[in-house]
């Protein structure tokens, strides 16, 4: 070890007295590999995307010149853009509620202390491990109007068949059901972990006071979970806004554009319509929406905790 005459380094910084420059060097040195990727594959594309949105750039290379905000003006007058944005928001609203609520119910049930924990966790969480394509194959098959298991069940109990993915009034709900099955396990795990962190003394005290299971759930568990619920809702909203995979795979946005989300519209204008500049402009409108929603969430949670 060191001799006792050496001065001890300051614990907060751990640097040797003379090595200010060395600290700068090693700090940026450690950051460098990440920074390279960060700058090349995140910062550059986000800046370049904005530049593209100001040009008439297309995959056919027709018009690379700057055209100002013409793409934005066109997008704001584009009924298809608004419709796809509306679909995305609609999906976000109707999917977030069940994705949070069902997760909470699942976790609450398990938290009572059911036997064979692993079995429940496996069955609730396993779908989260599937690729979107697998989920879409499963559900397209189950939703099949003639041969599907779901319609077979409905007709079995005397209900009419439903054209799940082919009925514009039902298709989005069919997507929500598939999404619920697929990803609720993630929120469920977060809830379960949070519930198991609630100190047992809370419940013991309540039991002594004669509070039953329902009472305990509503006056201890739920209030203790508030911060977790807020986080899960926020993350779920942001995740739902990015909806693309399962819609593209199950309905391709149909029938009649009734399920097409904005990410699919971005994809199609860029890669099917070859209009990269216009597509970039819509990306930025979408990005702006996400920023606005995030800031709103931030302000609301700040106010709540203040």
């Amino acid at each position: 070890m060191s001799t006792s005459t050496l001065s001890r380094p300051r614990p907060e910084t751990l640097r040797k007295p003379t090595s200010r420059t060395r600290s700068n060097l090693s700090g940026w040195g450690f950051a460098a590999p990440f920074l390279v990727f960060f700058l090349v594959f995140l910062v550059w594309p986000i800046l370049y995307g904005f530049y593209m949105s100001l040009t008439g750039k297309s995959l056919t290379g027709a018009n690379d010149s700057l055209i100002g905000f013409a793409n934005y003006a066109e997008a704001l007058a584009d009924a298809d853009m608004w419709r796809s944005l509306g679909n995305t928001l609609y999906f976000t609203v109707i999917s977030t509620v069940p994705l949070v609520l069902v997760a909470l119910i699942m976790a609450a049930l398990l938290n009572i202390g059911l036997p064979a924990q692993w079995l429940w966790r496996l069955s609730y969480f396993a779908p989260y491990l599937l690729a979107s394509t697998v989920v879409s194959l499963f559900f397209t098959w189950m939703y099949n109007p003639q041969l599907g298991l779901i319609n077979e069940f409905l007709t079995g109990i005397g209900l009419p068949r439903v054209a799940w993915l082919n009925d514009p009034n039902v298709a989005m709900w069919a997507i929500v059901i598939a999404t619920l099955w697929w990803t609720v396990g993630f929120n469920f795990l977060l809830y379960l972990a949070a519930m198991q962190n609630i100190p047992a003394q809370h419940y013991e005290a309540a039991s002594l006071d004669g509070a039953g299971a329902w009472r305990q759930f509503f006056s201890i568990t739920l209030p203790q979970l508030t911060p977790t619920t807020v986080m899960i809702v926020l993350l779920q909203i942001l995740a739902s806004l990015k909806i693309f995979d399962q819609v593209y795979q199950m309905t391709a946005g149909g029938p009649g554009g009734s399920t097409r989300p904005v990410v699919q519209y971005i994809f199609e204008t860029g890669f099917t319509g070859y209009r990269l500049g216009y597509s970039a402009a819509i990306s930025y409108i979408f990005f702006g929406l996400i920023v606005v929603i995030s800031v709103m969430q931030f302000v609301i949670t700040r106010r709540r905790s203040a």
């Binding site: 907060e12 751990l14 049930l109 079995l119 496996l122 499963f138 986080m231 795979q249 990306s283």
Partner: protein, 300 residues
Amino acid sequence: MAIPTLTRPAPSTTTGNSLKIRQPRRKLTVGRIAAIVVAAVIAVLWLIPFAWATATAFKTETDAAAPDVTWLPPSGFTPEAFVKVFQDGNIPLWTWNSLYTSAAITAITLVISALVAYALSRIDFKGKKVLMTVIIASIIIPPPVLIIPLFYQMLALNLIDTSWAIILPQVIHPAMVFVLKKFFDQIPRELEEAAVMDGASRLRIFTQIILPLSRPILAAVAIFVFIGAWNNFLWPFIATNDGNLLTLPVGLQTIKSAYGIQYAQNMASALLAALPLIVVFLFFQRQIIKGVATTGLAGT
């Protein structure tokens, strides 16, 4: 050097070190029975898609497409759909593609994120606050916004239709940098002080003191990144057209058109694609659940 009696720091965002359930103290009451029934109903609903896909995959194509929807096919169960899918050879190829791209993404992400997280946690350097702010702010950027410029960039770099096009843009996980930094913050500094006095370099301190103490969080981040990369659809779908490079989720999208109405083969392919992660989960359930619970709230 390191003091052996020091306890390992607990991961910051978790929830306790074990996900063990509180021991049930109550007996079988009506309420508990009702809870078991409801939990079982949900579990059955959640298992039906797997069961139905399995039943279909083991039917003959004729039975699978028969108008009589039944769990038990008239001609009995047969593995012929799986045999056909394997003879095609696509699923093994796609699985391999997914495996090595996801492994590469996970490895690169871990190395670069841990390094920068260490700098943010421990080294006092000029511009650190700005760097931290920029990384946290970038969490907000949704990947779909980047697809158009990234595609153009990949064209310019001549990387379209290479594995690099799939791998490189997926290694940036600002939220995971943040998770790692928070963990490093909790490791007692005294451990490093002694090493500094012994003249150990930053890199040695990082690899020999910090990393070994951080195994649980590194595993959690690795699991989170790997699952995400394994299942990612949008970017690999855009980045490659080459049939030999398709990942499992993207390749699976092509079979619908290729096989048409061959339901048994579709389900056999979907099940084979689902199998690897489900098997891994069965073996590492505890670690995966802990990993997801630790990293989950940090965002995607």
